[in-house]
């Protein structure tokens, strides 16, 4: 009798145990990400809501600094940003165009460098150490100092290589290139693009450190067995790159493109960001600056989504089991 009752009790308990393990695991998962959830709800969400709110108001600090008062003004800040401000739209358009030109340059350069640094060669460790210096050292403050650096310009005057000091010294002048391409029927737009990249090589190197690291990690994860079978089949290095390395690394290209977009439009050296900062610090302009940065944010989100959709259509994922 008691035994049967115990069996009866135990029988429905068994499936519940399994479910409770799942529940336990999901509870543990929640506990692990709890800091972020709390932070997001308590700090970040109010900040974002405030920020959106500020872009619709006029802000007045109460006398004595005990608090602040907001007056709802509707879309006035956005109108001010887009229509009232003489420079914003122009800087926005040129900044976004610059962004679109820079992305392929950075991604291609970092992929090329990662492929080079992945091969076993003389002095690889030293080169790697040098190439990752900008990731650590040329950020924030130092980038701010470098942005207008008379010394680098002076040291290099006559030498002719870009050291982040502006466009005073050019490695490649437009004249050289147009001479080279005169008979090749290449449009001047492309010419300007190529010369700009060559002259801006310091900026591009500085901004492709993290991407290089991500590409290197991706290259390391490709199985050497595939390369081996390729070389047995008699593929050349060129073929191996386009048929094996490139498809295998394509998920990284997606990741890096998105990272580059995010990184370059949030960086200090970005002209739009610099302008927003300038507006922010000029007297009562801070609410207008908030409105400006939301406009900018929406545009860049659109660009990111477009690029992600475009690239992910061509990304090759190796089947995993």
């Amino acid at each position: 009798m008691t035994k049967a009752a115990a069996a009866k009790k135990a029988a429905p308990q068994k499936p519940r145990r399994i479910a409770s393990l799942d529940k336990k695991k999901s509870r543990a998962g929640w506990l692990f990400v709890l800091p972020f959830v709390i932070g997001f709800l308590v700090i970040y969400l109010p900040i974002i809501i405030d920020s959106i709110k500020y872009s619709f108001v006029e802000l007045r600090t109460l006398s004595g600094g005990t608090g602040y008062r907001t007056i709802f003004v509707g879309l006035q800040n956005y109108q001010e940003a887009l229509g009232g401000d003489p420079h914003f739209v122009r800087i926005l358009i040129s900044g976004i165009r610059q962004l679109i030109f820079d992305i392929p340059a950075i991604v291609i350069f970092s992929l090329f460098m990662a492929v080079l640094l992945n091969k076993k060669m003389f002095g690889r460790a030293a080169f790697r150490a040098i190439f990752f210096i900008p990731v650590i050292l040329s950020t924030g403050l130092i980038a701010g100092i470098d942005a207008s650096n008379a010394v680098n310009e002076y040291m290099e005057s006559g030498g002719g290589i870009d050291t982040g000091a502006g466009t005073a010294n050019q490695i490649v002048s437009m004249a050289d290139f147009s001479w080279l391409f005169r008979n090749m029927q290449v449009g001047t737009e492309l010419l300007t693009y190529v010369t700009n990249i060559a002259n801006n090589i310091y900026g591009i190197i500085n901004r492709s450190g993290v991407q290089m690291l991500i590409f290197l990690a991706g290259l390391q994860s490709i199985s050497p067995a595939i390369y081996e079978s390729c070389s047995i089949d008699g593929a050349t290095g060129w073929e191996t790159f386009w048929k094996i390395t490139f498809p295998m690394i394509s998920p990284m290209i997606l990741v890096n493109t998105i990272y580059t977009v995010i990184d370059s439009f949030t960086s200090e050296s970005n002209s739009v960001m610099a302008y927003i900062d300038q507006v922010y610090s000029s007297g009562t302009g801070n609410v207008v600056a908030t409105a400006m940065s939301w406009i900018y944010f929406i545009i860049v989100i659109a660009i990111t989504a477009l690029l992600a959709a475009l690239i992910s259509a061509y990304v090759f994922y190796q089947k995993r089991d």
């Binding site: 010394v151 994860s221 990111t304």
Partner: protein
């Protein structure tokens, strides 16, 4: 078998009863060298090697040259900037710039404050981000995908957008949204007669608290990237490790601290290095959360010391050189850290296998 093959085939001699000796006829040294080096393949390889080496050397030059010119100009005296013949190597080397910055700009005090702040933030961020990353990598729960999207969102929204609201949040710090904050309710901001506290908000500006709070909740500078990196790393850790720990009676947290953390040290050092150095050179958060009255931090030392103020001929150049020297003094400690941690950087990223 014709005669040719027998001639080239190895000769077998019987030395003793149980021992034989095989003699190969070796190709002559000259032939071997010729076959090895005088082919198109070898030539192409050598050319490629040279091209690659020069390319890498050139790019290294582009990276290192600004550092060299900063170092050189930091030792130059006023006279050197007027003299046109002086470039790259100072003619009248001096330590005045360094002395003035150390004495007049309170270098060591700023260094101490920033070291404390960066260490605090970096340790907290590394720990919290690995915790969160582990949660995302190893546990499936309902909202995990949505939450991870939110992490990406925090990475995408530029912090400039939140400049004003960050400042307001921590200037009038309160837990909650707008009027419905905890301190506002308790302090009588909502109902006059109900007053437990004698303040309605806390001013956290000019303290380390804003950055500590942001670090603890995984919202600090580029923390989304760290969470992403840690998540990818933990995804590569085999589940069997944890399963065997569970069988031995460990709970999820004990497993994390005893099993997972020890094997993820290289990755954590990588994240620590990023967090430390990006916090070190950060000038956004420090400019939002600290003003003139606050503790001196490294961004504050970038100014021209009074004793070096000059209306000399090479003024712009000289002042730029002083600012560069400030920058150099800011990153010197970082260079030391980088040299020690640099090998973990590549290792950690490699092991993370940030794939898809």
């Amino acid at each position: 078998m014709n005669a040719q093959t027998t001639e080239n085939s190895p000769k077998i001699k019987r030395e003793t009863k149980n021992k034989i000796r095989v003699e190969f006829e070796r190709t002559s040294l000259l032939t071997r060298l010729r076959l090895r080096f005088l082919t198109g393949n070898a030539l192409g390889k050598a050319l490629w090697w040279i091209f690659r080496f020069i390319l890498l050397l050139g790019i290294s030059y582009v990276i290192l040259m600004p550092f060299y010119s900063k170092i050189a100009s930091s030792f130059m005296s006023r006279e050197d900037f007027v003299d046109v013949t002086v470039k790259l190597i100072p003619k009248y080397p001096t330590l005045d710039t360094y002395k003035a910055i150390i004495e007049e700009n309170n270098y060591f005090q700023a260094l101490l404050n920033t070291t404390l702040l960066s260490l605090l933030c970096a340790v907290l961020q590394t720990f919290v981000c690995s915790l969160i990353g582990y949660g995302f990598a190893k546990y499936k729960f309902k909202a995990s995908k949505f939450l991870f999207l939110l992490v990406i969102l925090t990475m995408i929204i530029p912090h400039k957008t939140l400049h004003l609201s960050l400042l307001m949040k921590f200037r009038y710090f309160d837990i909650g949204v707008g009027k419905w904050g905890l301190f506002n309710l308790l302090g009588g901001g909502m109902i006059e007669s109900f007053r437990v506290l004698n303040f309605t908000s806390i001013n956290l500006i000019n303290s380390y608290w804003p950055l500590v709070i942001l670090s603890v909740t995984g919202l600090g500078f580029k923390n989304g990237l760290y969470i992403f990196m840690m998540r990818q790393f933990f995804r590569g850790v085999p589940d069997e490790l944890e399963e065997s720990a569970y069988i031995d009676g460990y709970g999820p947290f004990r497993t994390f601290f005893k099993i997972i953390i020890p094997i993820s040290i290289p990755m954590m050092i990588t994240v620590f290095l990023f967090a430390f150095s990006w916090q070190w050179t950060d000038n956004f958060y420090t400019s939002v959360f600290f003003n003139q009255q606050g503790p001196k931090l490294l961004p504050d030392i970038i100014k021209i010391p009074k004793s070096l103020d000059t209306s000399y001929a090479g003024k712009t150049l000289y002042e730029a050189a002083i600012r560069n020297t400030c920058g150099l003094m800011i990153i010197t400690p970082l260079i030391v850290v980088y040299l020690f941690c640099q090998k973990f950087l590549v290792q950690g990223i490699e092991r993370s296998g940030i794939v898809g």
